[in-house]
């Protein structure tokens, strides 16, 4: 135990002297955060609209079908009960409720005029106003097409207080996740393949040092580095971008460390498999790049093509980012994100099996 601790201290001291390692574990992550944080990509994109079609008659179906054809809208049918909480979490921009008496035909005199209700997320005013004008435009057009007259419909608008989710609020957990992945996979794979090829590991194995003690020191060196990285990133996010992790910093850090352990197992498996340093970047990119884009780092994981979404939703980084984002943005507790944590644990198990299979001291 003491031996492992002292070994960790020695290796960590050496790690801090390695300029390339410091560049990739601290400077690059900060650059990512600063660049993407100032881009504010959240201002672009679609208006997400949930539709609760309570009428479900010919007229309402025609109305919904027309809305679905509009590219700017990302529509989805959902009950009001389901959609309202999502609206509050800013997973939706708008909710449109079509009343049971919905009709486009002119009403008889004295009859009640059907009332459409639009719930708009006040945290997304631009999206709501765009969506609202689209809905009104569609109603007007349908009305003229059917009746050659102006619509006889009320549109009532209600504001819903959504979480004021800026792009940078969305971005920070994703950046934390992706950097945890990069640091763990690359730092272990590069350093240990070099040590293996140069014969350093063989020399260490000629001492009575237990392989497990050595591995523990290597893991802890990286976990200390990951802790440092995560705290610096959160610090910059709080001070520079006014991001406030709602669920607290400690749960974020703990989830990041669990993610680190997961990706370290993959780094060790890769270090065991690769013969030379040149093989590392190719395989490491093959592992990390799809997750970079499909696991919801810079934009929603829903942006992945629907066909592969069942797979991308199960990627290790997706679980990590989901957990971090729910904690940071929605103030979720560790218990709330247990589903994602379970996903991380399962992946850690898989990684551990791979690491044990490939990282064999008796072959160095």
């Amino acid at each position: 135990m003491r031996q492992a601790a002292l070994l960790t201290v020695m290796y960590f001291r050496a790690y801090l002297r390695d300029r390339t390692a410091i560049f990739f574990s601290l400077v690059v992550p900060l650059m990512l955060l600063l660049i993407f944080g100032s881009l504010n990509l959240g201002a672009f994109g679609q208006v997400t609209l949930a539709i609760d079609d309570q009428a479900n008659n010919a007229a309402s179906q025609q109305f919904v079908a027309t809305l679905r054809k509009i590219d700017t809208l990302s529509t989805k049918t959902q009950s009001t009960d389901d959609a309202l909480p999502r609206l509050k979490r800013t997973e939706l921009d708008m909710l449109l409720v079509i009343p049971t008496d919905f009709a486009i035909a002119p009403t008889r005199a004295g009859a009640r005029v059907p009332t459409l209700t639009i719930y708009g997320n006040d945290a997304r005013p631009q999206q709501v106003s765009v969506g609202e004008s689209i809905v009104n435009e569609v109603i007007t057009r349908l009305s003229f097409a059917v009746n050659q007259s102006a619509p006889v419909l009320n549109v009532q608008k209600q504001d819903v207080q959504g979480v004021r989710l800026r792009y940078v609020d969305f971005l920070v957990p994703g950046i934390l996740g992706v950097n945890v992945m990069q640091l763990a996979v690359f730092s272990v794979a590069f350093a240990l393949v070099a040590d293996k090829r140069r014969g350093v590991l063989r020399r260490l194995m000629a001492t009575p040092l237990r392989p497990s003690t050595f591995l523990v020191s290597q893991v802890f060196t990286r976990l200390i580095m990951a802790t440092l990285q995560v705290l610096i990133m959160i610090g910059v996010a709080v001070l520079l971008f006014d991001v406030h992790p709602l669920g607290g910093i400690l749960p974020l850090l703990l989830v990041c460390l669990l993610g680190s352990v997961l990706f370290l197992t993959i780094g060790f498996a890769l270090a065991g498999w690769a013969e030379t340093e040149n093989q590392v970047p190719a395989i490491a990119q093959l592992i990390t790049l799809p997750q970079f884009f499909f696991s919801g780092v810079f934009f929603s994981k829903e942006a992945a093509p629907a066909l592969i979404r069942p797979i991308t939703n199960l990627l290790p980084l997706t679980f990590l980012n989901d957990a971090l984002r729910e904690i940071s943005v929605q103030g979720a507790t560790l218990w709330d994100v247990r589903g994602s944590l379970l996903g991380l644990v399962v992946w850690t198990g898989i990684g551990l099996v791979l690491a044990i299979r490939f990282f064999r001291f008796d072959r160095f």
Binding site: M10, A14, D195, P208
Partner: protein, 252 residues
């Protein structure tokens, strides 16, 4: 004198290649023992089995009374090791490298005293990767001495060194033997074996084909009527080189 290393009928096969075809020998306490042979003869395999880094297919390897195959960790604690490639973790200074190995053996040492012993005390603070080839070999010997080994294994210690550095290393090896450590080295330089080793074993194709003090082997060869054209020469090119460039150690 008693045997400190005992090897009996050691066999090792890599796929189709029989690297060791049943070798046996003893190394006496306090001697410098040389294992000679061309590349691929099985020298490194033999040393690595004795160091506990490889498992033999059959046979016994006993070091300081410990069966290396059965108790590799205990055996490793008793020996010092210099592998063919001396490589150490990067971003460690020479002093920290010695400390790292002391930690691996679970012993406390005075790193500066050890570095002084191998004439590297003025490089203590320098990163090990910046050291020259000869300096790194000496650092490697310092790391092999942290546990006060009973036997020191040196696998081709002077390969790639210039004549000054080789001579310097020979002196170092003699000094280590003087302090009571048995030295087991492999080499394919015959002059090195001749000046350094008390006894040598010659290996080829996985078998030991001769074993004796170098002079006995030479005498036996002459006894068989061997002659070679004798050129009366009181010096050779290496003497010229050393005369011109001096014995002083070069640092890079």
């Amino acid at each position: 004198m008693s045997a400190i290393v005992t090897v009996r009928d050691l066999r090792k096969r890599y796929g189709d290649i029989e690297a060791l075809r049943g070798i046996s020998f003893d190394v006496q306490q306090g001697e410098i023992f040389g294992l000679l042979g061309p590349n691929g003869a099985g020298k490194t395999t033999t040393v690595e089995i004795l160091e506990g880094l490889r498992k033999a297919d059959a046979g016994d390897a006993i070091v300081d009374g410990i069966d290396v195959q059965k108790e590799p960790a205990r055996a490793k604690a008793r020996v010092g090791v210099q592998l063919q490639q001396s490589a150490f973790p990067e971003n460690f200074s020479a002093k920290e490298t010695v400390e790292l190995f002391a930690l691996c053996y679970g012993v406390t040492v005075d790193p500066l005293a050890l570095l002084k012993q191998v004439d590297l005390v003025d490089k203590a603070g320098q990163r090990q990767e910046k050291l020259s080839g000869g300096q790194r070999q000496r650092l490697s010997i310092a790391t092999a001495l942290v546990n006060k080994p009973r036997v020191l294994f040196l696998d081709e210690p002077t390969t790639g060194l210039d004549p000054q550095a080789r001579r310097n290393l020979w002196e170092l090896v003699r000094g280590i033997r003087q302090s009571g450590t048995t030295v087991f080295l492999t080499t394919h330089y015959m002059d090195e074996a001749e000046v350094l080793c008390d006894r040598v074993a010659v290996m080829d194709h996985g078998k030991i084909i001769a074993m004796d003090p170098p002079r006995t082997l030479v005498a036996a060869l002459l006894g068989r009527g061997f002659t070679k054209p004798v050129i009366q020469q009181q010096a050779n090119l290496e003497d010229v080189f050393l005369d011109l460039t001096g014995h002083e150690l070069r640092e890079d």
